[in-house]
């Protein structure tokens, strides 16, 4: 039996609480590695998701800053609006949005080290009064109905199996006119490539703990069924292949430093990132950004499209 099938069969017989605890333990491990190590691989904001490439010579800092600005435009956060960042990581999106809007931010992560680093960065920029961070699973949240204006999942919902309930929860906690943004990986609906390969096992379970890639239409259906309306879907697959290429090159440049901090980790990162890069380059995996709203969007970001590099 393939690992992918076995993991999902085991997941299918767990209770929701058991699955939550499984994700809490499995997913946190990768992100508990030192932020110093990730700073040798990622951009300066420690953005662990795709940037947006538009030009042939774009560098990693440029493409990540472009994505932050694009997300800011899509979400159009108004003064005093409450933003929940689920899987906030080291705070790349959250801290950019906190610095560029007058929103109030609540980030959650499964990794205490990510939370510590995010708080350190928030304090150093004087943003701590509008930033709250918790180490918890999204299903631990007990937020009141209609208490949040924006929910962001950037490179995080892929780690969560119980998607239907999560979208229902988002619908419940959003104020009318609230927005949800997801940026994550999907399998094409057409079967391409071997999804039960040792490469899939390496990336989904051995390296990242637990991942569940849906088809885009499945995620959209769950969002719509929960009562949210889809405003915009953007393909960022080509950008993710290039982002991964940039990360791999940084690993090559910084291999000795990474090895000194975390022996063996450079090879793990390069191995899984190479698989992912090939998958996005061959479109056996796809990267999408999804924007949804609860009812009539209260804030309109204007033009929602941004073309990737056309090369």
């Amino acid at each position: 039996m393939t690992a992918t099938l076995a993991v999902e069969q085991q997941a299918a017989v767990r209770t929701k609480q058991e699955q939550r605890e499984y994700e809490r333990a499995q997913v946190a491990a990768h992100y508990q590695n030192s932020p110093e190590v990730f700073s040798l691989v990622l951009d300066s904001a420690l953005t662990y998701s795709t940037g947006i490439y538009m030009n042939a010579d774009d560098d990693l800092e440029t493409v990540q800053q472009r994505k932050f600005a694009y997300i800011q435009r899509l979400l159009a956060i108004q003064p005093g609006e409450r933003v929940l960042d689920v899987g906030c990581g080291w705070g790349s999106n959250l801290l950019y949005l906190a610095a560029h809007t007058d929103g109030i931010f609540h980030g959650i992560t499964l990794s205490s080290r990510q939370a510590e680093e995010l708080l350190r960065r928030a304090r150093s920029r004087g943003l701590q009064d509008r930033v709250k961070i918790e180490v918890c699973h999204v299903e631990d949240l007990a937020l009141p109905p209609e208490s949040v204006d924006v929910v962001l999942f950037s490179g995080s919902i892929v780690h969560m199996r119980n998607r239907a309930d999560i979208h229902q929860m988002v619908q419940r906690i959003l104020n009318p006119g609230g927005r949800m943004l997801i940026s994550d990986c999907y399998f094409p609906a057409q079967i391409r490539g071997d999804r039960a390969s040792s490469a899939t096992d390496y990336i989904f379970y051995k390296t990242l703990g637990y991942c569940l890639l849906l088809n885009l239409h499945e995620e959209l259906a769950l969002i719509e069924t929960a009562g949210l309306d889809i405003l915009h879907v953007q393909d960022l697959t080509r950008s993710y292949a290039r982002t991964l290429g940039a990360w791999i090159n940084k690993i090559r440049m910084n291999r000795e430093k990474i090895e000194a901090l975390a022996p063996g980790f450079a090879a793990v990162l390069q191995g899984y990132m190479t698989v992912a890069q090939l998958s996005f380059a061959r479109r056996t995996a796809l990267e999408y950004m999804i924007l949804a709203t609860k009812g009539q969007p209260r804030a309109n970001g204007g033009s929602w499209s941004m073309a990737e590099e056309g090369v």
Binding site: S197, S198, A199, D201, Y202, G245, N249, R252, M253, R255, A266, A267, Q270, G271, T274, V275, Q277, L278, A281
Partner: protein, 105 residues
């Protein structure tokens, strides 16, 4: 007398025997088998059962040891068949790579 190849980045010659041992060791690690079971004439896929993930792990291990990037599109999966082929590929790569960083995009 052994053949010698050069890796300018390391500024010292790399013996062909060292390349072969490194390739066999990388394969043994990826396949979780003893290195003495990895023979030069073995076919990577048919004899050793190396799959795409194993090949990526081998590529990364070789990069780490010889400081030569094996970039997209030149992965030996379609062109090379045996351990010996892979050794020759790495030795040639080490010889022709003038500078590690020069090849990075």
């Amino acid at each position: 007398m052994s053949q010698t190849v050069f890796n300018d980045d390391a500024k010292k010659p790399v013996a062909r025997e060292d390349v072969e041992l490194a390739v066999r060791t990388a394969l043994a690690d990826a396949l979780e088998r003893p290195v003495n079971e990895i023979l030069p004439q073995n076919d990577l896929e048919n004899d050793l059962g190396l799959d795409s993930m194993g090949l990526i792990q081998v590529n990364v291990a070789i990069e780490e040891q010889f400081h030569i990037p094996i970039l997209d599109g030149e992965s030996p999966e379609f062109a090379l068949h045996t351990v010996e082929d892979l050794t020759a590929f790495v030795a040639d790569k080490a010889e022709t790579t003038r500078s590690y960083q020069e090849e990075l995009i």
